[in-house]
Symmetry: D2
Subunit: 353 residues, 4 copies
């Protein structure tokens, strides 16, 4: 019997990608998709790619159907998730939140970057959703769920996902000193469905720009995942493509680590680290990731380079910001939490060209 799934905020970009993934998932049955602004409207009317595939209509956010689901995925802005999760958990629904609301373990940090937290008691219970790095937390949530306590998974942000995959194996080796610079570039779907000067085609086309330089909210999240409090400077950029996110991390090695350094050995460390993951590919020496290679798929490509003169290890991660950076990774987390095949509904590869 299929597991029932619901998507809150299904009219947004991450939300509709979730809908697509769940429709193609062999074990989940899509029970409800909600949107405040588009309630009552057919999904295929807003997203014609669904024409002939499903007649499903958006429901209102407060639909009771959500409470009958096994899993609800929330793709609404921060604070909006916080207002719904406690009730859903209460009703026995496992929640997979794509917002930042439950990602940061430290309430004060969350509140410094976002807003007052209305259910901080759930922070400890929340499992951080970046399987290749926080698998233990997801396994714990899976065990809890099997024992009767619905899971709460705080799915990682897009920039933190690509950044961490590109740097965690090196950072966790304890060989990186000082500040770590993260410069990332994202396609415009990362900016969301709302229209403004920046997301208007005529603003984004043929343009490159940085935004939130050094002040972006993903900074504390990256610091938390990598265990580098106060040591991350993060600068996101916008480029003229739809989907795709490339994160380039510069890590200065300690003098000792640099003296011994072998790029081949580090690539082996990365490869071993991601051995068990069906989704992360560590590219051969000399080959750097291309976002197009993973577009539309839950895969991540990771590559390394070594700038010997400055003792800088460069880690680069490429993902599709809506897939591995949001919706597909959320489904991957749900697969783990529900004890399903980790690749269920996630097998389709990127267009080769």
């Amino acid at each position: 019997m299929a597991l029932k799934a619901g998507v809150v905020g299904a009219a947004g970009y991450a939300g509709v990608e979730l809908v697509r993934r769940l429709l193609e998932h062999p074990d989940f049955e899509l029970a409800a998709i909600t949107s405040d602004s588009d309630a009552g409207v057919a999904l295929s009317k807003i997203y014609p790619a669904f024409a002939g595939i499903t007649d499903i209509e958006f429901s209102n956010h407060d639909t009771d159907v959500l409470r009958e689901c096994d899993a609800v995925f929330l793709a609404v802005p921060h604070t909006a998730a916080m207002s719904r999760v406690p009730d859903l958990l209460e009703a026995g629904v496992s929640c997979f939140d794509l917002s930042a609301d439950y990602r940061l373990k430290d309430q004060a940090t969350y509140e410094a970057w976002y807003a007052p937290h209305t259910s901080p008691e759930l922070l400890e219970r929340a499992a951080f959703g970046l399987p290749e790095i926080t698998r233990a937390e997801l396994d714990r949530a899976a065990a809890d769920r099997a024992a009767g306590t619905p899971a709460l998974v705080a799915c990682a942000g897009c920039y933190p996902t690509a950044t961490s995959l590109a740097s965690y194996p090196a950072v966790s080796a304890g060989i990186v000193e000082g500040v770590v610079q993260v410069q990332a570039i994202s396609g415009v779907t990362g900016a969301g469905r709302k229209c403004n000067e920046r997301t208007h085609f005529c603003g984004a086309d043929e343009n490159l720009e940085a935004y939130g330089a050094g002040t972006h909210r993903h900074t504390p999240e990256i610091e938390q995942i990598l265990g580098l409090p106060g040591r991350i400077v993060f600068i996101p950029h916008l480029a003229p493509l739809g989907r795709g996110l490339l994160s380039t991390v510069t890590m200065q090695l300690t003098e000792q680590a640099a003296a011994d350094f072998s790029l081949a050995a580090m690539l082996e460390r990365y490869t071993a680290f991601y051995e068990a993951s069906p989704f992360v590919q560590v590219l051969p020496e000399g080959v750097l990731p291309r976002t197009k290679s993973v577009q539309g798929s839950n895969c991540a490509h990771v590559g390394l380079a070594w700038a010997k003169e400055t003792r800088t290890l460069i880690g680069i991660g490429a993902i599709d910001n809506l897939c591995k950076g949001a919706a597909a990774q959320a489904v991957q987390c749900a697969n783990i939490v529900f004890g399903l095949d980790e690749q269920a509904g996630l097998a389709h590869m990127a267009n080769p060209v």
Copy 2:
């Protein structure tokens, strides 16, 4: 036991899309992929999207493995297919040719537009591969194959596919008079993998142009499918996107047909015509096709508009030129010929955004 499939010309764009489709196909096992220029090279080296998915390497075009396949898909330029198909058929291999070599029933027409034909005796046997319109030919080929005669399917060209889907139900009603104008726009993958001024990013980006205006080789093919010899003027255009093809057909109705005309009724006719097809969607009145809605999928979206003043019925068809316009449609044809589920390996929908 899985059917063995081979792809000749697998390093080109249509070829590599075939590879991806066959890798994901539940009933076909990819036995060989060939390329003259890249023989011996790993597929994932040329197309990194395959990294971690397959280790397969390109073989030389003349590999014996092809002769052991149940089906061979040829994605090589015209005349190149002609030189290989007879031998493959002889060896019992069903051939699915993506070139124009066996599409035109009339040898003289083929030779007027392309080159001397080296196996014209096969033209009659060849089944034209546009399932929604030439299903009977494909069913015949399926029956022949089941009876021991390998099939030869000439898969429709990309522009003829979108054009015909957009206009056949109207044209076949016998209500169209005079010349039919076809103006189509394609993304750059349609121009192929070869690099030149036109396909260089800096030539194609931010540019619109027509090419082969009124002289394009797809003209006789469209005339053949629609049964309108000498009545098609076809003008293709290039636009700055990768995949996507939109064909806009203007059909002037006879005075009588125009007097009675009802757009709603014509939409019903189209809908009924494509009822049995899992891949063609006729959009509601007032909604016109968007290529993005079908990108990466084997679907086609068709829409109609009526310009009463000039008695012009406008039919518009949107496809992904590498999918429904080439590789995915070829697989759809193979599914029919081999008696498989018509949607096998073709279920994945377009990215919703």
Copy 3:
């Protein structure tokens, strides 16, 4: 002493292109730029390309400065222009309107396609602004202005400009029969500054679609310019680029004209027709226009092709929809009306790559 110019609706795309042209114009001095929504804001704040170039701020639409100008360019939506032009003319200001308000000579036609006309008495006086075709009207307006009556110029629309340049010399030869099909493609700046699903980068990127098929307001305008009432079917399309517009016109020649037809001769006729124009280039036989070749400039490239079988002459015109299709052409009209060098402020060529 410099002529004073004002721009109403200067925050829109055509408006800001006008501002740039007037800032670079040797004979005009920009006295006021107006916007209702951005009054009081610095131009460079909304359009950073002006940083360090000008400090000018938007004024309110009702600023008295407009009444002191020699010329006011109106880049506001239809009906908005109608409400302002009479007063400005009264105050002695020559008006160059980029909306449709005064383009259609026939009031009934305007009202059928747009809205009730509030100053139809001005329709006869209005000079249609497409210099290469309606030069006589502009020369008359110039003479009137010199004699003391301010000019009213209704600048041609973008699609009608490219379409007419591509077809007028042939149509005016009286050799075209039946319905003329116009299929055009435009970049997204043509859709204007307002944000919606269609203009959002993630909606327009990697997408092709038709809109207003057979029902677009530019239909009567094209019919008027070409003198083909009820004989135009016009289908615009949107493609993923910022600026650029390509119009492809299919004209069926009479049997007699077709029998005698020589493409070389027709190209000569076009070349002679545009001889005096510094801005229109008729390309050599076999070369078709590319929008990139004219992007950012007031130039138009025109090319022809001949589909003999169907007696179809194909005319193709490429322009920059904001330049020759709007603002730059308006300045060209002003140059004529004020007796200035026709190329004043319009000499800069397109980026070669």
Copy 4:
């Protein structure tokens, strides 16, 4: 009497941009444009934007006309320039080299990164061409030329230009410690006219990738300009746009400098530093550069941000890689060397949208 100019390598992207600049230059007359592969071909045949503007044809690289020019601009690959410059200087021609051949003051450094130097004796004489930073060298070359010794100007590379403009005022204050990270993104024109997998539209479109990470040849050039030998790690990226280059520089300040740091004060320092430059705009606090704002113009926009926690000053520079990053800057250098108005031929601003 007009100065005679020649362009060697005029068929490449930087070369043809030079041709356009010189055609529009009031003081230079274009005497010869050379190309080995396109000798004898009309410029407008390869770059249709020139249709109707000039009939000039490419000459062979060895044309004597070059020796009669006052100035020759070389837009050929490194080592190709080296082979031509000595003769031209000998003939009294001032040379403006867009390659790296004479940029690096230290011969050993050049040879470590490029190739053996065939005229190292010219390295000392060569003036580095980045006016806002190395003005003194250009003034010296101007004086020498006026006194009879032709000038040799080594025009700065594109990445080094944007990078240095974004960081020099801070670095020259002596407050930056350790390694400086430079992550830059460029449009595809930066990769040049040659066609390959990376520059094919279907490779570059909808894709982000890094290349030459930590090993790019512009590293020593950036180190030289900033006076930071061995302290630069430079990672360039490719994004799907034609023209545009954004360089993001992270500079860690010393503890003392950080304690006193005021972003407003640093912006004042930058503004004062570029006061005399008509081309460099320092944006207000909180506003970051957009490449589109300077596309097609010789302008550069510079912005700053401060990440206090990590003591990181972020400098961002946006240019058009073919203009301020190559051809237009070369013309700016020539204007200085020939004692012309520094803005001659360089006044046209970017498209506002």
